[in-house]
Symmetry: C3
Subunit: 266 residues, 3 copies
Amino acid sequence: MITLESVVTDLDRLRAAKPLVTNITNYVVTNSTANALLAVGASPIMTHAVEEVEDLMGFSNALVINLGTVARTYLEAMPVAWAAANKNGVPVVLDPVGAGASRVRTEQPVMMLEKYQPAIIRGNASEIMTLAGESGGAKGVDSTHGADAAEMAARNLAAANKCTVVVSGEVDIVTDGERLVRIHGGSDMMPLVTGLGCTCSALCGAFAGVNPDGFEAAAHAMAVMNAAGAVAASKAQGPGTLQLHLYDTLYVLDAGMIEKNMRLES
Amino acid sequence: MITLESVVTDLDRLRAAKPLVTNITNYVVTNSTANALLAVGASPIMTHAVEEVEDLMGFSNALVINLGTVARTYLEAMPVAWAAANKNGVPVVLDPVGAGASRVRTEQPVMMLEKYQPAIIRGNASEIMTLAGESGGAKGVDSTHGADAAEMAARNLAAANKCTVVVSGEVDIVTDGERLVRIHGGSDMMPLVTGLGCTCSALCGAFAGVNPDGFEAAAHAMAVMNAAGAVAASKAQGPGTLQLHLYDTLYVLDAGMIEKNMRLES
Amino acid sequence: MITLESVVTDLDRLRAAKPLVTNITNYVVTNSTANALLAVGASPIMTHAVEEVEDLMGFSNALVINLGTVARTYLEAMPVAWAAANKNGVPVVLDPVGAGASRVRTEQPVMMLEKYQPAIIRGNASEIMTLAGESGGAKGVDSTHGADAAEMAARNLAAANKCTVVVSGEVDIVTDGERLVRIHGGSDMMPLVTGLGCTCSALCGAFAGVNPDGFEAAAHAMAVMNAAGAVAASKAQGPGTLQLHLYDTLYVLDAGMIEKNMRLES
């Protein structure tokens, strides 16, 4: 059961444990993702060097695979890292950025999901519906619309891959196929800062690094982002200052701020 | 004719249309360029994956090719994307970063200009004069100096390539070889933020995505940058805060702010 | 002898000379490093294109080699650039990011140090102790602990490589094996901004570009970072605003601010 208390407990645990989160992510967000992970209390490693990802999986607490950059050197490192993570019991978060926008962005996550086990998949509605259509029981998806369709796609994708799926949007959805929580908060200015979706995926990795239940980890990460985003937006004059205040807020976020700035709906 | 009204009309159009701007740009500015495009109202895609650029040209409204990073994987994607853009009628903005500083930075844009059609070329005076010398009727360039030389190089380069050329500087010059407008504004602190020239090129792409007249698109983009830069500088304590306020300003910029903070000289 | 006066003299010299600093650095910090170099008064070039690094060494005032990204294309460019720098008398700063964390991160700097001459090596205690153990007279390192061990490792590494070594930490150590200075200042929030260590290395490059004495250059760079970091932290509400204020501070830093915000201990 996801509650304010469970969110705060895991955030405290994260700050104490400082989990090492290895990120193979796109070159647009390496800096902002690393800063968000540091601000919330995690230890980021950013790499796409196939030569070292197996070494890193020997001591990482989580692996985030983000398909925002699909250049060859990036794609080469991802399956090697993912295989090593699965072997070593390191939880993996998959962010299928742009699935549906180009063939390579659709095919690559599908191919990897056929071979490797994710703990959490996070995307927007369009990305999750694309993946569900390609690789996870798309039954019924095409016949529904909007939030309902996204929720059904998320449930199906989660069930088909035995993992947790997060759909980011105005209201975030987190489901493992059976359990489901909707999270309210954030700000409609957040999509105007590049890579905040990627930051959500990275935070999912940080929480997965301290909580082996992927559903709880993902829900706690999204609760923290919703709260921090709402606080930051209340102090911002636009998307530039929003991003900064987001880091500052992640650094000082406490139970009172979380309670006031996000809402869980089971 | 470029006027305050034409600037505001295109900015409104941009915000309504949210043009998709695909950027093959350097890894220094991927984040800041994407944020500027989002703040002004466009939808950025950042990539250098040769595997997907043809797919993306199927639905992009503009392509920005920025030579700031000249590693092989980047150079491989550029001509493929540019050819597809030309085939599909997608306007292309070329930013020849560092032309003249190394052989590869000089040769690559020249080679691409021989094969492909740009809508807009944007650079600083040194870059534009280098390109004009190499690939576009350099007659007379060497015998003039400073702003005049840059203006003549821009006119010649534009005429030779049947496109619009922008020279960024203290006063920005926009010309298609016949029409010419000078734009005043901005701040002398702007060169101390990395990649604001690249941001100008990206905004040229955004405006080219809603206005098929490259001269108008480039002039409107530069007018917006001059106004936003001046507003941002008035609120900044240094180059760090300048960058943030620039995004915030692009997000809220309106006719009154544009009128007060930039000046068109025909 | 490192003094407040010597720091200020070199900072003035840097701002007047605007040294060209070429950086082969990781994709997490390209933007933030370039911004810090611009703010302090230097002219940054960011590249990892093997095709151009020799050209750039023809006119650069310093080269910074940062091992934060160890993908092949980056590793390919580094020795070519370093060889050209040594040939042309361009001072080289090595930042062995993550030495000890993966085999490639440990082996690469060791291999390059066997062939090429650095002016300055900068890392944290763990990285410097790893390098000292692998490539520079590790005698006695294992038998000491904490700050003493790091100091001994730094002295040994500097002596073995005839260069200056900087160990970043709560108190920064700068030594050329004989001379040694400890620098106090900064803020404990600085490690929560990604890449501020990389920024230190880049500033070492900027100062090395105007002062041929590597020990003085490194000490002056670290004094500036300690002062700027302390000023920025006093204005920040968290790591997000800290980063911005750091750029703003580097831009306006003067003798009075340096005197109040850092302390030299010989």
